[in-house]
């Protein structure tokens, strides 16, 4: 039987004439109908370029197919070489036979057209439908990706929907005309874990329903384990290894595959938490950072006169403390208030209520600085400043002069974070992403802070770089007895660096405690859901249940004060918030007993 797609000797380059630079050097693979191939690699491995070459979108990004064949079996039973097909032919094949889903649902939909118009366009282009026929088909497509209340959503513009909903719209659009091949390029990277689980479940289900061949591009081995039949590993434009899923995961042959599998932080449900530091006796060490009743609200207004309609309760009554040398991870999804909490600690937003105190046990100084490392190392370094000026910035900001002692400290820190000492005269663009993040860490350490707030500090980095930066952070913490507040949505990374975990949901801590306890036996319903959504190597081909529940609104009427939080203690260091309905149940139970 002929394969759906068989690619051989594919070479792709960018640029023209002498400037031509090949980025994919001879890729071979085959795909059967209904089969899923995962292409795995880090940034610059050529995985996305390979994918974009298949439907020849690479042509529009300045790329060119230099050599090779891509034989594709069309619905008509004809085999055509996609590498040589005419533009006209490709227009019929794109959308008609090959659908594609992209990484950023927020930017991949046209902001000035309603989602209904955009999906209908696919039907119009490929099946010539229009008017009510197109509308009916669009409704059916939205139903197929389980978008609730589809008829109303048709009239929505992209900015009115959440990322997860938009990705469903993208999938609906890509599947509109029942393509024989679906290419998904990092379709869940920009989404929260539980939304990611939803999208993955949807893809798996649709693949079963439609029998579409799927090419799934990702950097996340955990996702690969959940969906792929076969895996292809790419590095620097070459395929280093490919084979069936189990073989690649269990018996990787190529050193790079092994390295990748090792570097990927596998989430193991709290079995591999850090054991280098124990909060054994609370009275022994006084906390470096104490946060009490932290509440951040943003006023909400409506109408012409900006009448107050209440407030967004972004962070509500959050308490925690961090002792020296300890990492508290704050986990949660977009809108949970985790970044707002971090920003409040740095004075970047003003808390409505609540206090925090930082005490440096090394000196007893009460006003020790809190420093922050941000998510995107590309955007958080001023491109016009050299490294010396970048490192001098926090020193100047704290009112000190840049003298020889400070310069010596710069050199020491640069060396400590693993950057060459001659970097001092260089500019940010001369460094790689990982190096930039090391630079950001060095900058944060310039003023010898007691607390370091790490806001998604490794999320933008490739997995192998991520692992090294995490190691560096752990070493630095042990050396300098730093207290880390590690804000992240990535449970695998959290498992690797956290001693304690606080789970934030809708602006409140719902569960807090020792990392092992929270991750291995989550008590709160939300924590359970969050942890169940994390893709792991162990749960291969596990099918998630689809769930379309929304995060509750954080908008409260003026004067609203939430009820006192009640906590249930589940262990030595493990507390869970008691939700209102639980409380009702308990009071019911109490009433019954009487």
């Amino acid at each position: 039987m002929t394969k759906l797609l068989s690619v051989s000797g594919l070479k792709v380059g960018f640029g023209r004439g002498d400037q031509m630079r090949a980025v994919v050097h001879g890729v071979d693979f085959e795909l059967d109908a209904g089969e899923t191939l995962a292409i795995v690699g880090e940034s610059g491995s050529g995985k996305s370029v390979t994918a974009l070459s298949i439907n020849r979108l690479v042509d529009y990004g300045g790329g060119r197919i230099l050599d090779g064949r891509m034989d594709f079996l069309t619905a008509g039973g004809e085999v055509i070489d996609l590498a040589r097909a005419s533009d006209r032919r490709m227009e019929k094949i794109r959308g008609g036979e090959i659908g594609m889903i992209f990484q950023e649902p927020m930017t991949s939909l046209n902001p000035v057209l309603t989602i209904g118009e955009q999906i209908a366009e696919a039907f119009k282009l490929q099946r010539g439908l229009s008017g009510s026929a197109a509308r009916a088909a669009t409704l059916e497509a939205l139903d197929r990706v389980r978008i609730p209340d589809a008829a109303r959503r048709l009239k929505y513009y992209p900015h009115q929907l959440s990322g997860g909903m938009l990705q469903r719209v993208m999938i609906a659009m890509a599947l509109a005309t029942n393509p024989r091949l679906l290419i998904a390029d990092e379709p869940t990277t920009a989404l929260d874990v539980s939304v990611q689980a939803q999208i993955m479940a949807l893809l798996a289900e649709l693949r079963r329903e439609t029998g579409t061949g799927l090419i799934f591009i990702t950097h996340d081995m955990g996702l690969v384990a959940g969906i792929a039949d076969r895996v292809m590993v790419m590095q620097a434009g070459e395929v280093v290894e490919q084979g069936p899923l189990d073989r690649i995961l269990d018996r990787p042959e190529h050193p790079y595959t092994r390295h990748l599998l090792k570097a990927v932080p596998h989430f193991s449900g709290g079995r591999h938490v850090r054991r280098d530091h124990h909060r054994t006796d609370k009275t022994a060490t006084s906390p470096t950072l104490t946060v009490e009743g932290m509440t951040v609200r943003f006023p909400a207004t409506a109408g012409l006169l900006r009448r107050s309609i209440g407030a967004i309760h972004a962070v509500e009554n959050v308490d925690f403390d961090v002792i020296p040398g300890e990492t508290l991870a704050i986990v949660g999804e977009s809108g949970s208030g985790k970044s707002t909490t971090a920003r409040a600690l740095l004075g970047l937003v003003k808390p409505h209520r609540g206090t925090f105190a930082v005490v440096d046990e090394r000196t007893g100084n009460r006003r020790k600085p809190v420093q922050m490392v941000f998510q995107n190392p590309y955007a958080s370094l001023n491109p016009r400043l050299d490294v010396e000026s970048l490192l001098a910035e926090p020193v100047r900001a704290s009112g000190e002069r840049v003298d020889d002692a400070v310069r010596a400290r710069m050199a020491r820190l640069l060396e400590r974070v693993g950057l060459p000492v001659d970097s001092i005269r260089r500019y940010a663009h001369e460094f790689s992403g990982g190096q930039r993040q090391r630079l950001c860490i060095a900058r944060a350490l310039m003023v010898n802070p007691a607390v370091l707030v790490l806001d998604e500090a490794v999320s933008a980095l490739d997995v192998s770089v991520q692992a090294k930066v995490l190691d560096l952070l752990i070493d630095l913490q042990n050396e300098m007895k730093l207290a880390y507040l590690f804000v992240s949505h990535d449970m695998a990374v959290v498992e690797r660096i956290a001693h304690r975990v606080a789970v934030l949901y809708a602006g409140r801590i719902v569960e807090i405690g020792a990392a092992e306890a929270v991750l291995s036996s989550p008590q709160h319903a939300y924590t359970r859901r969050l942890i169940a959504a994390v893709p792991t190597m162990e749960r291969r081909r596990e099918i998630f249940k689809l769930d379309t529940a929304d995060i509750p609104t954080l908008l409260r009427p003026p004067g609203y004060e939430p009820a006192q939080t009640l906590w249930r203690t589940c262990g030595d260091d493990h507390q869970v918030r008691i939700e209102v309905d639980d409380r009702e149940e308990q009071s019911h139970a109490a009433a019954h007993r009487q």
Partner: protein, 320 residues
Amino acid sequence: MNYLIRRLVTFPLVMFGVSVLVFVAIRLVPGDSITAMLGTEAGLLTPEQRQSLAVYFGLDQGWFSQYWRWIGGVFSGNLGVSVTYGKPVLTVILERFPLTLELAVLAMLIALGVGLPLGVFAATRNEKRSDLAVRIFAMIGQSTPSFVIGLLIIYVLSAGFGILPSMGEFVPFSQDPLGNLSQLILPAMTLGLSFTASVTRISRSAVLDVLGDDYVRTARSKGAPKARVIWRHALPNALIPVVTLSGVEFGYLLGGAVLVEQIFALPGLGRLVLDAILQRDYALVQGSVLFVALNFMVVNLLVDLTYVLLDPRIRLGGRS
């Protein structure tokens, strides 16, 4: 909708600022309107005659009471009387305005009709020879002063083709549409050229920007043909800067185009204001500047309205 209402609220405030500014500015210019009106004969006036003229035009009073008298009149639709023309200022302005408006509209039609397609074309031919040609045209069009272009057009047409621009008394459109257009087409082209060049440049770069956006790639992945990708997906997203630019340029044109009016001997608003300043015709300067400012604000409001139509994110605000 709220967005537009909020803009409307700022309307009177801006008008008030403009009125104060122009009132003070024209009085800071040395010279007075009586001397300017009578020329050397002003020297022959006895102090009593001068005084009675000043009283007649209200120039004998302090600035404050002059301003209040003027602005009070403005609210009742009376912009004062022009010293030069001896007619109500509003009448003088409204005589000149239709020509200026027509010229501005024609220039904008040319600019959008030629510049927009040219810009879109250049964007799709990025870095190819045709793109370069368009960019050179735009560069020349933007950097050549309008009087040079105007004279060149007259020269080329008369020397090369024996066509002479219809000079002579201005014919309003309502009386003789064809005669009117044949009078205005050359000045409109002159004005339109640099406008076209700006529109070309801005639409080229806006479309080029948008063509790299993710949703354009999505449209292509759906199999949309090239023309559809550009006209349906890229262009609507690229129009906002084009509308902004066109609004500003159109607003300027509504203030009159002094050089072009001079070259083609057209009685437009530009020359009116210039003459009024030279004549120290306070009431006319104040009135016409206020009128031009009002036009500018109306145009800005139309631009905002267009944004609202073009972009649902402005129309509907954040997430609902």
